[in-house]
Subunit: 262 residues, 2 copies
């Protein structure tokens, strides 16, 4: 199975341009599963609710999802993409999982970072796993990484590959995702963006370093800090079904009798 | 508050020698809390149940605990030390927390690594936090690091400092402990050992790199890969009461409504 990421620099507010760019790259590469960044079609640094309202869209009927569904079908590719979702009067920082045969799943970001609470509702979908035949896919978005329960829930539900669209600014996530892969025996695929956004007196620099990690903690692909780039690697997702570290069975040996996690 | 580790090379089976060496170092340094490695008094590579039976001891009445209690009182130091415990016919890979006024707490390793299941029962104490006045202390041992629930349980119960006696052979733990500190907003103090043990046809090399990490993921102290060494740093344990990352409140914002962790 070939899985990859498209680390790129969305232009703020230019939805059609960003979507066309991503679609073009997907047409050019050969992959079974491609992950795009968080909010890949809109950019990140909103300055008003109106901006979010204008760019967010229904899933799966909106422009972005429909464009990606089209290329997913044409190229026989599964796609995970982060976008601003509009649903029943609320807006969510969401990720969609799309495939050659149509819409597969939706994840609404559970743990919002900083000012995102001004623009989005906290996600209500929970952490669900979607079997696409080739593998079982889980989704989480950016800051979800700091809560070990997000990846843990996905792994306990059977995810082989955690797809992790991101707009990272802090330097800790990439190393933490190695731990997430190891502790859960899963592949993780973090697709970050690059570039700088300056709007409304604020300046954000995104840190790239998109990466793919295998269940033993090996980094299979690592992108640049500041340049766009697409990488695809061949993996055997069944490696994520083997929950061992040496002879230890890290899922069977969990001491749920001793954990207190409420 | 001054906290530190004694990374050293125990000689297998030479309990008195190992204990005297640790006691001597503790007498020479100025610290409020000192952590010793896992099984610091016995060495690691047992080849028979008889060996474990012979070297393990009652807590707190055994030689090791009594020796450490003596130096804890003399030097006004709290000590966390890993040792083989004998209790009611069972043996445990345990850690004790001792202070100037006596015995404080016991932790029995919950997640046993590899052949340890041949020598020890799985721990039954759970993950408890002990308030020593200066700070609230939690203990976990070595391979517990790979189970995020161990550190999480300690942090949710209020630990400021996670003391982590270890005998590490794999290269992943130290970076994972940075994630453990960050995701839980706690200090972590991993005291590893160094040296090689060759017994019964097996050879184990321990990887050193004992470290102290603050709640923001900064490494405050890092020992050598292969040499003994003691390091002490000054910390403010109250930094662990501030569970924020930027403006995010990482404990309050946990989405326990969405986690499925059984």
């Amino acid at each position: 199975m070939k899985i990859g990421f498209i680390q790129f620099h969305p232009e703020f507010g230019k939805k059609e341009k960003n979507v066309e760019k991503a679609v073009g790259i997907i047409r050019d590469i050969d992959a079974d599963l491609i992950v795009l960044p968080e909010l890949f079609n809109s950019g990140y640094l909103f300055t008003s609710a109106e901006e979010v309202e204008n760019i967010s869209e229904d899933v799966p009927s909106g422009y972005t999802t429909q464009s990606l569904l089209h290329v997913a079908k044409d190229t026989d590719t599964f796609i995970v993409a982060g976008l601003a979702e509009k649903a029943e009067g609320a807006r969510y920082n969401s990720a969609v999982l799309l495939g050659p045969e149509g819409f597969v799943g939706l994840y609404r970001k559970a743990h919002l970072f900083k000012d995102e609470v001004k623009w989005f509702e906290k996600g209500d979908t929970g952490f669900n796993v979607h079997d696409i035949g080739l593998a079982r896919i889980g989704m989480m978005i950016c800051f979800d990484w700091i809560f070990p329960e997000a990846a843990r829930t996905l792994a306990l539900k059977g995810a082989d590959i955690i797809c992790h669209p991101s707009n990272l600014m802090l330097p800790f996530c990439q190393k933490a995702m190695i731990t997430r892969s190891l502790e859960n025996g899963v592949f993780s695929l973090t697709c970050n963006r690059v570039g700088v956004e300056e709007r409304g007196g604020e300046r954000l620099e995104f840190t790239g370093l998109s990466q793919i990690v295998d269940p033993k903690g090996n980094v299979l692909a690592l992108a640049s800090e500041d340049e766009e780039g697409t990488q695809v690697v061949e993996i055997d997702p069944m490696e994520a079904r083997d929950k061992t570290v040496g002879i230890n069975k890290i899922f069977q040996e969990r001491r749920t009798d001793l954990y207190e996690l409420s």
